[in-house]
Symmetry: D2
Amino acid sequence: MDFAYTPRAQELMTRVQDFMDAHIYPNEHLYHEQHAAFGPDNIWQVPPIVDELKAKARKAGLWNLFLPESERGAGLLNAEYAPICEIMGRVHWAPEVFNCNAPDTGNMETLERYATDAQKEEWLDPLLEGKIRSAFLMTEPDVASSDATNVQTEIRREGDEYVINGRKWWSSGAPDPRCKLLIVMGKTDPGADRYRQQSMILVPRDAPGVKIVRHLTVYGYDHAPHGHAEVLLENVRVPASNMLLGEGRGFEIAQGRLGPGRIHHCMRTIGAAERALEMMCKRLMSRHAFGKLIGEHSVWEERVADARIEIECARLLTLKAAWMMDTVGNKVARSEIAMIKVKAPVMALKVIDDAIQAHGAAGVSQDPGLAAMWAHIRTLRFADGPDEVHRRTIARLEFGKHVDMKAARGR
Amino acid sequence: MDFAYTPRAQELMTRVQDFMDAHIYPNEHLYHEQHAAFGPDNIWQVPPIVDELKAKARKAGLWNLFLPESERGAGLLNAEYAPICEIMGRVHWAPEVFNCNAPDTGNMETLERYATDAQKEEWLDPLLEGKIRSAFLMTEPDVASSDATNVQTEIRREGDEYVINGRKWWSSGAPDPRCKLLIVMGKTDPGADRYRQQSMILVPRDAPGVKIVRHLTVYGYDHAPHGHAEVLLENVRVPASNMLLGEGRGFEIAQGRLGPGRIHHCMRTIGAAERALEMMCKRLMSRHAFGKLIGEHSVWEERVADARIEIECARLLTLKAAWMMDTVGNKVARSEIAMIKVKAPVMALKVIDDAIQAHGAAGVSQDPGLAAMWAHIRTLRFADGPDEVHRRTIARLEFGKHVDMKAARGR
Amino acid sequence: MDFAYTPRAQELMTRVQDFMDAHIYPNEHLYHEQHAAFGPDNIWQVPPIVDELKAKARKAGLWNLFLPESERGAGLLNAEYAPICEIMGRVHWAPEVFNCNAPDTGNMETLERYATDAQKEEWLDPLLEGKIRSAFLMTEPDVASSDATNVQTEIRREGDEYVINGRKWWSSGAPDPRCKLLIVMGKTDPGADRYRQQSMILVPRDAPGVKIVRHLTVYGYDHAPHGHAEVLLENVRVPASNMLLGEGRGFEIAQGRLGPGRIHHCMRTIGAAERALEMMCKRLMSRHAFGKLIGEHSVWEERVADARIEIECARLLTLKAAWMMDTVGNKVARSEIAMIKVKAPVMALKVIDDAIQAHGAAGVSQDPGLAAMWAHIRTLRFADGPDEVHRRTIARLEFGKHVDMKAARGR
Amino acid sequence: MDFAYTPRAQELMTRVQDFMDAHIYPNEHLYHEQHAAFGPDNIWQVPPIVDELKAKARKAGLWNLFLPESERGAGLLNAEYAPICEIMGRVHWAPEVFNCNAPDTGNMETLERYATDAQKEEWLDPLLEGKIRSAFLMTEPDVASSDATNVQTEIRREGDEYVINGRKWWSSGAPDPRCKLLIVMGKTDPGADRYRQQSMILVPRDAPGVKIVRHLTVYGYDHAPHGHAEVLLENVRVPASNMLLGEGRGFEIAQGRLGPGRIHHCMRTIGAAERALEMMCKRLMSRHAFGKLIGEHSVWEERVADARIEIECARLLTLKAAWMMDTVGNKVARSEIAMIKVKAPVMALKVIDDAIQAHGAAGVSQDPGLAAMWAHIRTLRFADGPDEVHRRTIARLEFGKHVDMKAARGR
């Protein structure tokens, strides 16, 4: 048993931390200023500072750190990438500077694992270069997405092409002007076995028939220039070679994609919670009320202590899940992955909400950034499956340790 | 003991409910459409539907229902106005249609109680007519507002005028194009006794030196066309006759203003929670997952039941506080007022958050309006004093029932 | 709307309060001393002080206050009895002094409503006199009692007799040496319609075949001399005339019995919570830590304030349920009755647990009585149906306001 | 980073687990039966099965596993002992079988570290042999023990002796008939520096003047034959050589003692929570209500999943604290030790309470043992310092990372 990070992880943590100190934190204000300068009618543009810093990060060798088991990535274990990802997660736009941002990381992993060489050349290489961006189109507005068998989008073979029809939403990153690739999930064979009906297919963003209908907000935030789109797919035609892995294998790909995706979200979430705790402490030590520092009132001691306890818990649980993914694989680790997916967002929301309360009215405003942080993390209680479904998974695995559920039902 | 609303209250509840059904709910979409049509550069304008409906409400006699103990108002008791206010609170812009919206109601009550006849003629009459709007400038960015003695704005007498210098924020309603009056709290005599340093003064919105520095967001919402301003007051000069009640009486006015203001907030909050519960129930009964209606999964039964229980509790507590204000006065009722100020927002935030979770990803978007409702109510955990200060008040009154705190300290 | 208690209620509250001050509180210690003096082998005896005080209470006219709508009782409304019952609930053995203790009150109400004159003469009269005690045998160890259709005890007609076989537990009060009557629920016709299989029958405690198998503890407490028994019924024979109301009407009686029973439990629970809060306040004001009174540390302000808020909420909800039972009847009030059944115990457990924490290690001991109070109230989260079942009831009534559940299922 | 237990730990875990399966679980019933057979007047005796099993465990080499850094113990790291201690913690009387029970383990560690060779020979050796038992007398009834400087017991030097006067309570294990040693904390020099006033001294249980005044209950449990005593020390005289480490060093010893003591409590607590979860799962899978297994109602899925998540979190946090104690020492690990001291009991109380609710009324009775488990763990929220004090420690260390608190106060 050893709770120390590996030397390789420690070395990269130091370098990423130094980069954050030198280049990210000092430019947080500039990022927002540059974006604001585009004006309210031109929000779907990327502040120039991002490209400047991407060049710096790449030059520093802090690039594509997320990709495990591949010569294209840094070759880090999940348990090594975890603390690095956490550091990046302290600033919402920082991961992109290291080409480590969602949903591109998930999409790159998907291509790395399942794409043909031709598909990789066309899409994975420019993504790894950070030249283009991508989106993942799974959720649909008209059905309960918590039950993934409900997907209704149709992918129909016609000669050498597939024709796609459907309506997707929460297509995050699709509004980004650099987005060139959509990975679309849909049904190729509604009559097949329940988990063989689905396929994933690669759709160029500019294919005829792809239409962004509107932008969704998250507690009032448009998340520009990244954004969340509702996308209409009307008779979109792509070559048959754009099919990923093969017809009917969409579920299999989704399962493979979601493990690492969930753990990355949790790592970044823990980084956000750490930052919120830091801001809470500083604020509480900077103002007096009723004759002493606000932080010396014991209600605040309690909240700060509980924040520290719960952050540590969530971090350890996430590291253990990562370590299990590294040592026994995603399938054996599925209870642990479900556990962090429930724990990390709930934990972070509480910490950030307390930090907001510590800031008084300033907390809900644009100033400290805590409200934006909270709104973003609130979406993680449904993204990649709602809490309720993950808890169901955990409980069933737990019951299964002690009883044969089928036999129990029959009694 | 009688939990039935008075006949007068019941009659008005029916009429307001009918008005909501006939005119407010059917126009909810139109309100947002009209506002969106102004474009992102012109958000500080009021959708025309508001004025249309105000005329209708006034004609229907549903106007200025909030004002107790005054011939200018409807003469309702607080306990009678409560359930009516709750109904209005189900749609965030509905109260204004009945000229019953914050902060104008609080400002009108303040003027009714403390203004001279000349001041009333100039400001109260057009406010009661719904022709102008107003703002209340108390909170300042640089000090802990939870301790009200910290206010730093200076109000200095110079001959027949007062000269005002300071910086305020969270001046809600100040950005509204119809806002003509600012009620400003500041210090006239920093050397006076702790609770006699403050005064309140009437400042025309267009007085030279009054400058809206920027707009604050609440989570990502700008709350246009109402909005929240940061206001700079630089050598603003007003006639000496604009002083309210007299120098050094600012605290006294604040105390008188906050009781009804807090209770109105709570009533509207309960209305919002009721609406969220209704939306949650309808959504849960409209979709299936894992073989049955989502609402038939018992985690949702639990949340719906707890929502119903806690809404009822908060409503009864609010009604009792209102009844005490009516029967024994705001001062005796101060523990009850503090209690609802803590209970109602915390209760509503939980109900709305569960309703959001019930809606899946749609919940955080602009579609059902729940995210906006949550963000708005989150501000009530600091507005008019943070939870922590109200709990302190309640606890001290509780301890005082059993022990002499001064004597206890000395032991 | 009027939150004031009726003059009749106020008058009785004063008299009961005076009686508590004069006779109950000063004898709390004596009660335990007298019981301890019996020695560990003779715990099923009643301390003599109880009979002394019963005589005093009866003489003072504070007797059988619980029974509404009957010339045998005090004729109080539920909403009038509620605050009186709450006062008695502050000391666990006080209700018996006024002949107002469970399960005898519920049993007396049952007899009053459903018994024949002969049955009343034999059992109700001595119960109302306080000369005998009774028990209610419903729960069984081998089935989930949350679903009341599971009852397995058999009641078989044989000529002029019924023969009863079954095993019951949590037969509270059965070990009391004065217990003479058992009201037993069982199945007369397992083949009948689901809600017509059950009957209730009167069984003398000393009938051959009635055997107390053992005593159950509640968190280590034996609750002697009242106690909770596991009772074996082996070929117990009673005259056919002991059937209550008629064969197959057990469910109907249970429904009629549970409404008032639940509300009495809640009233007493609120009284207990009030006492715990009082003890918490006094303790927090009596000791110093880290340079000030423990109660001046704001974590304790928070807990005291939340205790006050939640007690008020539970009380108002209970009063409203009582008022509805008085004005529209138990059936219409069933959501409200379910609501208080969930709310009151959960609220009280939190308040008492905080009071225990305020007392440090003393809190869990026999000294302040808080641990015993907590253990007793913890049982109310299952007694008369577990929280989960009441929440299910509330949720279904709530859904039913908005949708037709059957139609929704079919969609 | 490596979450696997060391080979040595794994090997011992297997052996202890096997011993539990072979000897402890099959005798749980017998233990209680033997104790009950002593009768209510003779509860302070140890069931013979304990000595039988102690002999077996010792023979199996499963003895004194707790003692680190000593040739007398098994030489395990804290992180190695942790999972073993957890296994033992599943049955409340099991640790003693392995001579690993509180407070003897803490007392043995104290003697090992701080006693003279003569003191060790007299007391440590028989304790390590399991021949005698011991108690630790620190808490006093008349002062707030959360602030340890409040201790009032007097230890006065007179010639070659010390004379001790004071009143202690919660002296756990003192009523055990085999208890021969009391380690007593008291003041030798009330005029000295705040943390140099205290000393610890060894007092034979049978020294004249040592009197057990009464036994304290925990909820209704007497915890016989172990028990919790209130002890009066009246002019108790011991040789001067019984002083531990030296006058004025009581605080230093207390600090050294509490680290391992707290972590052992947490480990056992996690074992208890695991067992409660197992019992909850089995029960939920064994009964039906409303047409399906109770565990298939999603409220129970939620509770089971949350139990699994929070147990894992508490375990990882405890293991990390143990690892830090092993690698950087108790002083550097003091925030982590405080964190588990808060987290583990609160976590376990929730899990056990849910397990109780899952069992219905049976849960609070003597049958499954859950109520006793809950009552015992509830004491850990004050034992070795209340939650509030540990949170204060954590918060202050957290604030200290970001600001200089002294400077902040002065601003």
